[in-house]
């Protein structure tokens, strides 16, 4: 109320100089922010499941929704140029499709499919337990 009054009296620009910028969040922004924080936590666990991350790389592996899994990596080469690899796994009822950097989808098979199976099962167990406090027996 005080802030609103000052906004009216001093004008928004001057009031901001006096009080500084106070971030305010709409319900939607708040929802997105909380969701992002949880995904970050999950993604760190996902990265750990995939094994040690090479020095200089940032890795995330997380469940985006019930049918979509994301594996994202960024790094810089020796010349300092930034690189990114974005892999999206789409879960169909009878198969897993993979897109690398937005390219054409291809069916995941063989060892890669088994590795994906391992990773998502492990992710479920560790995230359910560590982030959401669910008891999961392995």
């Amino acid at each position: 109320m005080l802030r609103k009054t000052l906004d009216i009296i001093l004008g928004k620009d001057l009031a901001q100089k006096v009080y500084g910028t106070v971030p305010t969040f709409t319900a939607n922004q708040q929802y997105n922010r909380l969701e992002r924080q949880l995904i970050d936590h999950e993604a760190a666990i996902g990265a750990r499941i995939l094994g040690p991350t090479p020095a200089g790389r940032q890795r995330q592996f997380f469940c985006m929704d019930s049918h979509t899994w994301i594996w994202h990596e960024t790094w810089r080469d020796e010349k300092g140029k930034a690189h990114a690899q974005h892999v999206q796994y789409d879960v169909r009822h009878d198969s897993i499709l993979k897109r690398v950097n937005g390219g054409s989808p291809r069916r995941v098979t063989g060892q890669e499919l088994r590795n994906f199976d391992y990773a998502v099962s492990r992710y479920y167990q560790e995230v359910a337990s560590e982030v959401y406090g669910r008891t999961v027996t392995a």
């Binding site: 499941i49 796994y89 088994r114 998502v120 959401y132 669910r134 999961v136 392995a138």
Partner: protein, 92 residues
């Protein structure tokens, strides 16, 4: 649609847990990037999907379907997340 994907978040989480526990993996695997090997314990049916003999007897299509079903079950994490976000937001 499998029952794991209907009902409350609690029900779906429980159902997903059952799917994942009934068909856990039990093979040495190198996760997606092939960096590190780990073993999961507590194997049962489809547990040995990594073994060539079972690959042959079950059939690759069946294995693909079973793995896809497990992945969907694991995807219940997204429901748990949404539930948690609403809980945190309402508590704020």
């Amino acid at each position: 649609m499998h029952e794991a994907f209907s009902g409350s978040p609690e029900t779906r989480a429980q159902n997903s847990a059952e799917i994942l526990e009934l068909t856990p993996v039990n093979y040495e695997s190198t996760p997606l990037d092939g960096v590190k090997q780990r073993t999961m314990r507590g194997a049962m049916p489809l547990a040995n999907v990594g073994q060539e003999a079972q690959m042959t007897s079950i059939g690759e299509a069946d294995i693909d379907r079973a793995i896809a079903e497990r992945a969907m079950a694991a995807g219940v994490i997204a429901d748990l997340r949404a539930y948690k976000v609403r809980e945190l937001r309402d508590a704020a």
